[in-house]
Amino acid sequence: MSFVPGQPVTAVVERVEIQKLRQGENLILGFSIGGGIDQDPGQNPFSEDKSDKGIYVTRISPKGPADLAGLKIGDKIMQVNGWDMTMVTHDQARKKLTKKREDVVRLLVTRKSLEEAVKQSKGCYHKP
């Protein structure tokens, strides 16, 4: 799903709530992200539109918090705790996800399978 900067985006999203896991001094979510407006979108293996500079889930540690919460590799993260993730740098995204004060992050993610499911069911759209 692509979007044009400045234009409203329409996407089917799923809410994913992840409870952070404490590892030593760090709180971890158990997944890694790629992308960002400062990254080369052409390198993103998960995006349909190779100009999409969004934040994508690139890896998930098995049995980690993200895995348990249902996050999938290739998910595009639309929001983190209400913060837009479609127009941020990689580092900004990382920071939003790793705030130490927050034990829980709520993601809005979209993935191709969701879109397709919605199309088939003619379901409703959520506007991010």
């Binding site: 080369d40 990689h90 900004q92 990382r94």
Partner: protein
């Protein structure tokens, strides 16, 4: 040598070029006076070179001015006012100059008339005035150029001899014509001893011109010219403007040109000599002279007044009829050089002084004679005369030494030093209040200071004296300002100019010299005061200002390493910066975050600010001494100079000072970088990228590179300076109109590289500025290996931003364009970077202080340890340093799967 390093950077820096002296008094009493103003000066510029290499460039300038004055005894008819009577008026049995006669003969009476006068140089005028009034009896006329050869050129040889040859057209003033060899004595008007000390007018303007023009290389310097001017005195202001080449000649020529006057003097005198007119008079003169002449032979100099003159007279027969007549007299001959030197030891003081003055004349622009004087052991004798109680004697001796010390022949300078001439000069400086003598002393020292091995000698013997006797008093600075007294402005006197030129030269002699100057009590304070005064008066184009700025620039070099207690400021900077900087940089690595970077940049800026207020060491007392060099207050001063000055050397030096101050990683350089931004200095610097002066462009480019160590500055410079930077690059094999030197092109490329590094945003700006085409062309076709290399680094950095590749590809570029021409390795980018880094960093280091520290880590470590602040993490060091580059580069390649936790910024992938 450290010193060398500094300077070099810019040959262009020229900043330091000091010119040597100027010949000052042209005329004085009778004999010929020569001035050598010029001495070779060397400039050292502290600047760091772009490449990273610092070179020291010295430029030596030598100026020589000599003026020969011959006295002819004549009585000048004085008008009621004491001035010579106009032709029409009856000459009272006065002797007219031989020159006059000529005029008469050649031309018509008219010459003699006022018109003629116009040609006369000021000096004459002055002297005349004085002399006339004072001593009617015998007045000596000074003759300047005596050479016949000149005569050929034109009639005009200004009386002043500037070595025409030497001097570039610029300096009209210098009398070129004199060639000692030919003839010396021109009958000139009278001069009075009293007159001797001619008021020299400090010339701001003149100096200015000189300065600008002065290039690094030997050129005849203004000095001589200036002197002339001075001597000329009040009347002539125009000379410079009039004609570059032979100003005097031209002027003079006016009337006389046709007539083929050769004598300079005539010209000068012309105006005033009104009495000349009649032949009869001349006849008388001749008659009188002859006796004189005859007598002379035996003891030419011995006769206080005339005799000495006589010797001079021999000069060019052509020039003045009178002279011719004299020459005809078989009994007369010039003393040869050994005889003249022997006369220096004559028991009669006037003989000594005349002999010395004659020597000065002979040496003017004549390297052969200088050498002969040296080999005949004349220099120790002259030095010995410096301690002579009679002002006439030590003045003349000093004048001779000034001429002898001028020029490329360093052996002459060494000879003066070897007989303790430097302490003798300093001693005389302390003793005398005679401005003319002081000018001669400082002019000689300026000449001597151009020779490397003598610099420390001058510092050891004279630094504090020069500061106390000249710099401080003339700067207007007061150690303990009186409550009521208003702050005084600097006086741009010749003495100040000479002294500041001398200090400018010695300030380039390395770390030890810099230390001595920095710690010289009152010196930095006075220089700063003088410059602030210049800014206040909007008088920023003169040579003295240039000298002062160059000294400040040189003293600012490596200030962060060399200043006592510098270690204390290293850590703080590290600490502060690190926090903000470290992360930022990393982020930068990520590459072009729009907002992110800027935001970060702001942080830095903010940090800096807070830094300023918070972290800057608090001072209970006002700054003084060398601390003033790097206080944020100086930023405004330099920016004012950059805004207002028209003098390229001053501009270059001011930019170089900012460059030096913004280099390095200590607290003060952080603050300076932020202050330049807050004082709105970046637009001023960017504007100067359009300067026509190569060295100014170079200094500004390097300054911008150092300033971009500050992240916020980097963002701004990337946004607003990129087009101007790129426009200075040659396009392909064709050089742009400016035709900048290799050093400058390399400096600009390195600056671009710095700006683009860690900032894909800036890289984008670079692409938008149409730079890729130029860079590729340089990379492939430049004849300069250094340019090729620098361009290659920029290209590789640009290509490393993957997000930009689409855009580049659309423009028709492909990977091969961004690879070094020499080694084409696909992975060159990533792997290659480290390699590049090695090369580039050193360069940077060499050039700039900021970069000077190659190993950031090492530095960091040092700093940390030194400071005692161990905790600071890498970041801190990184932030200020160039290290970032390493950082970034290393990170990027490795990036793929790193723990986010450890390394926050990972471009590709981050664990969360």
């Amino acid at each position: 040598m450290p010193a060398e390093v500094k300077q070099e950077q810019s040959p262009s820096n020229a900043t330091s070029l000091a010119m040597m002296q100027e010949p000052q008094e042209v005329v004085e009493e009778t004999v010929t006076i020569e001035e050598d103003p010029g001495t070779p000066t060397s400039h050292v510029s502290v600047v760091t070179s772009d490449d990273g290499t610092t070179r020291r460039t010295e430029t030596k300038v030598t100026k020589m001015v000599k003026t020969v004055t011959t006295r002819t005894v004549r009585q000048v008819p004085l008008g009621p006012d004491g001035l010579p009577l106009p032709e029409g008026t009856s000459p009272l049995g006065s002797y007219t100059d031989s020159i006059d006669r000529r005029y008469l003969k050649n031309g018509s009476d008219r010459f003699i008339t006022p018109q003629a006068t116009s040609t006369l140089t000021r000096s004459y005028n002055n002297s005349y005035n004085d002399s006339y009034g004072e001593t009617p009896e015998s007045q000596y006329i000074r003759h300047y150029g005596l050479h016949d050869g000149y005569a050929d050129l034109t009639d005009n040889y200004g009386s002043l001899s500037r070595g025409v040859n030497f001097r570039p057209p610029r300096y009209p003033y210098m009398p070129n014509s004199y060639r000692p060899e030919n003839s010396y004595t021109l009958p000139i008007r009278k001069d009075d001893y009293g007159h001797v000390a001619q008021p020299q007018v400090p010339m701001g303007s003149s100096t200015v011109d000189l300065n600008r023009s002065q290039p690094e290389r030997f050129q005849p310097e203004p000095y001589g010219l200036e002197d002339d001017r001075r001597s000329l005195g009040p009347e002539e202001e125009e000379p410079y403007e009039l004609e570059p080449d032979y100003s005097t000649a031209n002027r003079r020529t006016l009337p006389g040109a046709n007539r083929g006057r050769t004598h300079r003097e005539p010209l000068r005198d012309g105006p005033r000599v009104r009495g000349y007119p009649d032949d009869p008079i001349e006849a008388e003169l001749i008659d009188e002279r002859h006796p004189y002449i005859h007598g002379m032979y035996s003891a030419p100099l011995a006769q206080p007044e005339r005799g000495s003159m006589a010797s001079l007279d021999r000069m060019g027969g052509r020039r003045s009829p009178s002279i011719d007549s004299i020459r005809k007299d078989p009994r007369w001959r010039d003393p040869d050089l050994p005889e003249v030197i022997a006369m220096l030891g004559h028991p009669i003081d006037p003989v000594k002084s005349n002999a010395a003055a004659y020597l000065q004349h002979l040496c003017y622009e004549n390297d052969k004679i200088k050498k002969d004087v040296r080999q005949l052991k004349g220099i120790p004798v002259l030095v010995g005369l410096l301690d002579h109680p009679k002002s006439e004697v030590h003045r003349k001796a000093c004048g001779a030494l000034r001429n002898i010390s001028y020029g490329k022949d360093n052996d002459n300078k060494v000879a003066i030093k070897n007989c303790d001439g430097i302490p003798a000069l300093i001693r005389l400086l302390r003793k005398t209040n005679d401005m003319e003598v002081r000018e001669l002393i400082t002019g000689t020292l300026w000449n001597l200071s151009s020779y490397e091995p003598l610099k420390m000698v001058i510092i050891n013997h004279g630094l504090q004296t020069l500061t106390n006797e000249v710099i401080i008093p003339h700067s207007g600075w007061e150690h303990e300002p009186n409550e009521d007294s208003k702050p005084r402005d600097a006086e741009w006197t010749t003495v100040f100019k000479n002294t500041s030129g001398c200090l400018r030269n010695v300030s380039s002699d390395g770390a030890e010299a810099r230390r001595r100057l920095r710690e010289c009590e009152g010196l930095v304070d006075a220089l700063l005061h003088a410059l602030q005064s210049a800014v206040g008066k909007k008088d920023m184009d003169n040579k003295s200002v240039e000298n002062c700025v160059c000294i400040m620039r040189n003293l600012s070099y490596h200030v962060h390493k060399e200043v006592p207690g510098a270690e204390k400021y290293q850590d703080p900077s590290v600490l502060q910066a690190p926090g903000s900087a470290g992360p930022q940089r990393k982020k930068k690595d990520d590459a072009g975050c729009f907002g992110g970077k800027k935001a970060k940049g702001r942080k830095n800026g903010e940090n800096d600010k807070s830094y300023d207020t918070l972290d800057l060491p608090k001072r209970t007392e006002p700054s003084k001494g060398f601390e003033l060099l790097y206080q944020p207050e100086v930023v405004r001063l330099y920016l004012s100079l950059l805004t207002e000055s028209q003098n390229y050397n001053t501009l270059e030096a001011a930019a170089g000072a900012l460059q030096n101050l913004s280099a390095g990683q200590w607290t003060w350089s952080n603050y300076i970088r932020a202050t330049v931004r807050k004082e709105k200095g970046l637009p001023i610097l960017v504007e100067l990228l359009r300067s026509d002066s190569d060295k100014v462009v170079r200094a500004v480019a390097i300054a911008l590179r150092n300033l971009s160590i500050d992240r916020r500055n980097k963002d701004l410079i990337g946004s607003y300076a990129m087009r101007d930077l790129v426009s200075n690059l040659p396009s392909g094999q064709q050089r742009p109109a400016k035709n900048l030197e290799e050093d400058t092109v390399v400096a600009i490329l390195n600056t671009i590289h710095e700006i683009v590094t860690d900032s894909s945003e800036n890289a984008r700006s670079l692409i938008q500025a149409q730079a890729i085409e130029k860079l590729v062309a340089i990379n492939r076709t430049s004849q300069s290996a250094r340019e090729t290399k620098a361009a290659s680094h920029v290209l590789q950095t640009v290509w490393s931003y993957k997000e930009l590749r689409n855009a580049l590809t659309k423009d028709g570029w492909n990977k091969s364009h961004f690879q070094p021409t020499v080694t084409a390795t696909p992975k060159a980018t990533k792997n290659g970077k480290p390699g590049y880094d090695d090369t580039t960093l050193p360069l940077m280091e060499k050039n700039q202080d900021g970069y000077s520290t190659i190993d950031q880590r090492d530095k960091d470590c040092k700093y940390k340890t030194g400071d005692g602040s161990v905790d600071l993490t890498e970041r801190e060091p990184l932030k200020n340093d160039t290290n970032r580059k390493h950082y970034i580069r290393s990170n990027r390649p490795a990036v793929s799967l790193v723990d986010a936790c450890d390394v926050k910024p990972q471009p590709v992938d981050s664990w969360v």
